[in-house]
Symmetry: C2
Subunit: 258 residues, 2 copies
């Protein structure tokens, strides 16, 4: 078994309103490549957010008293804190320089995944410009999947990933924030080991593993490689009807670490 992860070349700088499917198809064509059934496309959250014009100009944000107090407490721009709170269900941890929240889409992330690097828009630069996560990353992934199917007649999976920090370990890893056309959490319930013994660990976060592997190919920023084509992945999930990122999100009541 062989998995290949290939950076889609020649993706232009994405602007609000851009058609990512057009750009991906053109990029693949420029490489002499085309999509096959079963391929997975992993897209960096940043280009999805840019295409969806999820920019916020902080000069337009009026922070609430809560955001001002919290900004003082964690030493962050209260306007940015306001945007983070607006994007969050609740604050999970706060320390000077650190604000970890449950994003309204359900996952735990620092600063609600809001980004200030590698963005520039209408002359508003980093200090005043934020880029939010997509409104609904699963819906974004599903729209991309459906458009690819409609235009090219191929059944692909789509994962939107982001670089996210973790408890217990240093550094970010790519994680899935939106999933379509594949089972995010592979469930081996009822499976057996090679000696016929019932498997105890039965759930594998396949979409997160894809997101992490693709993140290596995306790399950091100097080469722009925001789309990765994954070929050779075959899900062994026995719950193919489940889609979206939700199965990867541990419900708060089941989480011992917040």
């Amino acid at each position: 078994m062989k998995l290949t992860l290939t950076a889609v070349e020649n993706i232009p700088m994405v602007e609000p309103g851009d058609d990512l499917v057009d750009q991906i198809c053109a990029g693949l064509e420029s490489m002499g490549e085309s999509l096959l059934d079963g391929d997975i496309l992993v897209l960096a959250q940043k280009i999805v957010s840019k295409a969806e014009n999820r920019y916020v100009d902080l000069k337009t944000v009026v922070p609430s008293a809560e955001a001002i107090a919290l900004g003082h407490e964690v030493d962050k721009d209260p306007r940015k804190v306001q945007v983070i709170l607006d994007e969050s269900n609740e604050v999970v941890r706060k320390r000077p320089g650190v604000l970890i929240v449950e994003h309204r889409l359900g996952f735990v992330a620092a600063n609600a995944g809001i980004d200030q690097s590698n963005i520039q828009q209408n002359g508003v630069d980093g200090d005043d410009l934020c880029l939010l996560l997509p409104v609904d990353a699963d819906a974004s992934a599903e729209t991309l999947r459906a458009n690819i199917r409609a235009r090219m007649g191929v059944e692909v999976g789509v994962v939107i990933n982001d670089s996210i920090g973790r408890a217990w370990r240093m550094g970010t890893v790519g994680l899935a924030i939106g999933v379509a056309g594949m089972t995010a959490l592979e469930d081996y319930v009822g499976g057996e080991d090679i000696y016929g013994r019932e498997l105890l660990v039965t759930q594998v976060a396949a979409a997160d593993e894809l997101a992490a592997g693709a993140s290596l190919v995306m790399g950091q920023t100097t080469e722009k490689a925001p789309v990765v084509l994954v070929r050779g992945y075959r899900s062994r999930a026995n719950n193919p009807e489940v889609s979206g990122v939700q199965p990867l999100l541990r419900p708060k009541a089941m989480d011992m670490f917040r």
Copy 2:
């Protein structure tokens, strides 16, 4: 940029004392493949532990009063709890059915990474047999790396991975527990984004991303695929002198989630 992750074929069932380098070389040869400078080999912890004979027969374990009490509290075999405690620095969380510890090697994992699936030894089967993690997974990785270099004259990286659960998210992902010949944590301190703005998120857990991607290849095959050859990875780390898994482990004093 293209990354390929290929399962090394024909790795036999590993027994204590087996020479993994021999087995990997034979497997690669059977595929008409050979190692190149810069390749990364990702090995499943399980085969490293088996080769190092890290089996424990629970029938030989006499649980302490602490292990008996804790076993009762978390509804686990007190003999297994004893083995977990022996392998741990401290208990991080305990609940019925759950025992999450800081392994003596420093990472946080359920049951100290002790495994009871896919093992069988001298007729002692799963219920009485445990397989511990390697004594020193970085040293195991370094020995493999050095042996490959000595025998084949190639400079490869070696990652030993394991499937480990996480805070906040469901399912396991492959994570690195031993690393040699590559920089586990890529550090972009001082780097700039594509608009020349200083990067804020500067550390990427590259070895974990490799471990996760390789885990997909290992996990998908009903055939055993405990070794994955990763080709095409080029570290962009600016701290190449740092080796081992330690940089990936968040010091407890810096961890808000235990």
